[in-house]
Symmetry: C2
Subunit: 139 residues, 2 copies
């Protein structure tokens, strides 16, 4: 299991790069624009510490980030996303976004912190009951 | 510069340990109770990835975590906290909690994400203008 990133949403990407990159001194590891989805992701890391990233999500259509929407989620790579989701369920945790694709799931902490789980390496072959499990709530 | 942790506040520490430790599978790296301050800190990390921590802050006196207070801050260890705070100021960033002690500072991102800066190793000798700089706002 590996920590990947903390994601925060940003209103103004250039202002955020001035802050996180130019002022704070993080380095941009990669950037990807998604014109279809109208958003941009920028991953940054501390110089010499590439393992732990900060992900900036910039939605091109403005949102107001009051009420905690500025904070996104914590993300972890996991060895077996199905086994982990089974354990989470056994502990009474709702799988808000089931790993239908064998690749990605979302759950929430007791205080509503959103946690992203990503299968390490290639996605697992799709498998029931996850394949046909609908989403529950938001994450 | 090194990523240290993401801090989240938790209402119920036992429920949170059931989630983060027993269900998600993180390991408790250390725990410290602060009876004087009436709070407990628990640091967790993914097995085999001790470098990036999740910090749980449990305030013994209940708070309602709506409106984003559930998310705390991102923390980084930095080589020279004074030099970094100077650069941040030069970029127009308010030093909400100046490093009066040569050890710790807080700033906020353009979207109000709280960022904690900690001097790596021992604190630097106290130095002006930081020593006598008051706090600004909250963080």
């Amino acid at each position: 299991m590996k920590y990947l990133h903390t994601m925060v949403r940003v209103t103004d990407l250039e202002a955020s790069l001035r802050f996180y990159r130019d002022a704070l001194g993080l380095e941009v590891v990669r950037r990807k624009d998604y014109p279809q989805g109208r958003f941009t992701l920028v991953y940054l890391a501390a110089p010499g510490d590439a393992g732990a990233e900060l992900e900036l999500t910039h939605n091109w259509d403005p949102e107001a980030y009051t009420g905690g929407r500025n904070f996104g989620h914590l993300a972890y790579a996991v060895e077996d996303i199905y086994a982990l989701c089974r354990r989470l369920q056994a502990q009474g945790v709702t799988i808000n976004r089931p790993p239908r694709d064998g690749h990605m799931a979302f759950v929430r902490s007791p205080d509503n912190i959103s946690i992203e789980l990503l299968q390490a390496g290639n996605p697992l072959p799709p498998e029931e009951p996850w394949m046909s499990m609908p989403n529950t709530g938001s994450w």
